[in-house]
Symmetry: C2
Subunit: 379 residues, 2 copies
Amino acid sequence: MSHAPTATLNERHRAVRRELAARAIDALVVTSRPNVLYLTNFTGSAAIVVVTAAHVHFLTDFRYMTALAESSGTAWACPDLQVSKVSGAYDAALAAVIASRASTRVGFEAADLTVARHAWLNEELARRGATTELVATDGIVESLRIRKDEYEIATLRDAALRLSDVARRVLQDVRAGISEAEFAFEVNTRIHQAGFSRTAFDTIVASGPNSALPHATPGERILSEGDLVVLDFGGVYRSYCVDLTRTVSLGRASARTREVYEAVRRAHGRAIAAVAPGRSRFDIDAAARQSLIESGLGEAFGHGTGHGLGIEVHENPRIGPRRPDVDPTDGAVATGMVFTIEPGAYLAGWGGVRIEDDVLVTSDGVEVLTDVTTDLIEI
Amino acid sequence: MSHAPTATLNERHRAVRRELAARAIDALVVTSRPNVLYLTNFTGSAAIVVVTAAHVHFLTDFRYMTALAESSGTAWACPDLQVSKVSGAYDAALAAVIASRASTRVGFEAADLTVARHAWLNEELARRGATTELVATDGIVESLRIRKDEYEIATLRDAALRLSDVARRVLQDVRAGISEAEFAFEVNTRIHQAGFSRTAFDTIVASGPNSALPHATPGERILSEGDLVVLDFGGVYRSYCVDLTRTVSLGRASARTREVYEAVRRAHGRAIAAVAPGRSRFDIDAAARQSLIESGLGEAFGHGTGHGLGIEVHENPRIGPRRPDVDPTDGAVATGMVFTIEPGAYLAGWGGVRIEDDVLVTSDGVEVLTDVTTDLIEI
């Protein structure tokens, strides 16, 4: 169970219901697990929620009935909950719930439900004689999740400080003579010791030439004098994800290393300085990108500048170049949004640098949630 | 990268192509990540594969180009590979590949592709003037994955022995005075040390009354004298998952504990004895279930007897009761199938017992891949 207060859950439900009313939809079937968690605090691996005007129908199986019962009556209990115990297949139980109601238009999450499940549900509803129309919806819950509420901001702030503590220890621990894979395990141990329930993704320790690969898998390579080492790791704290990267030099940095490092650091600073409510997320990306172009490293920056953080480690807003084909919105950022700023420069065969922090958009600009020096560290 | 030999990949491709020919489909779009791995050895986080009669079109982004290049020319290189570098959105690149071919009927994986992606693809193909018909397919690659080939069996055998080593150490390490969460972390460390790339799922350490919850999350409860402790953990070794459970008594077991433990152990033995090629998976489940009913514990066994293991930790075959509504096939098991046998008994407020091993169906019956005593251990 997550612990958003009941009043906060109530707010979230009200916002969903406003959207449903605006679209003349009677009920919303929520199958996306992060969305189920957001609406109910439920962190188990299997559940479906149906939000109606009066209730939050909650379908889960016997494995989670005890956990549900234990949260009942607490300050973080989900309001208006109606629990259905699933004993066979989830979608059969869902069809029964839908058919038992007088709903005519029932929304589903088109970005989560597969074509096969959708077809099965439609057939099953017809077989039961239901006249329900299943209506594709797009991002109803996600559009709420993009701006964090007070509970989420407090959780993310706490999580970011814990991850910063991890980073400081990791920067002390890193050393020549250990393999990437072994050091990644040490990082994971630090993450665990700092109170995170798990890593947010597979920890990256990319050394020497591997540092030029933005998504290198830690391997048997031994960290060696003269290496650049990219350390990118994250943790899940009370269901919320934070993410941080630092790049260190093992031994004295060469002039070229210093130059590339300072160029990335400058791009990172420029992007953070560009964050404010109302600013386009494309402009935030452009601030980092333009800075790297000015340093002659435009070609060396192959990914986006950042991604939203929350229940998922990659969520909206995406901070990247404008892509009119798939993402036509202008996308101004707004207060309450939390995302990473992580420009990098990767030079094949030579190495790479990435510097990543987590930021919150505030009414007067930006708050950097993570707190670790960006000075070049030579070990 | 996974390391199935090129000849094995070729066999898998041939089997897919036979299915496509039988359905008069020109090409299959594979979006399911485990299926992509199975067909290409690719273990990255983003790729789409299009299998045609002559080629395996492989769409991925710059992050993985180096890894792909490195596997080229090795003994595990994917044959007939045509790589397209994705620079924008994956589905836009996919639409371009489909539209550029003369395919008329293109299959997609209906159990993986979402309603939203399907609708977008259809619109985009129409916009490009393509006359392609997208055809829903069901389990083409999964139906191959259910019976493991020689490479997979060797990998799973190795993985199961490594996990058995972990289990023996864990059974020595477990002790009163440590919290569930801390001990779960010790188990995870052992899994890492045994050469697994990660845990296959969140390790379960469920003590005392928590042992009555089949999917308990390890918490702050301290393991104490008199507890039953369910230890359920798994690892991913060279992309393949194995899974094992043992239940121990901290201190001398009571007569009731002994009775419940022996009943579960008997059910576990009966289910394993029921495994042979041609036997129905429902009968294997019934062997465990009937045994627990005879011990007066029928009501205490709320889950299925087992699940398939492979690239995913829960895959086919499902070893459970017959559910004609969602699963109409008779489902005889066949040589090469690998699955868990994990009956349990859970008595709310008192505690629970589960015993789990991994088995392979062989031509003359069954091979138990895991190798750890099932005797009741009192610590």
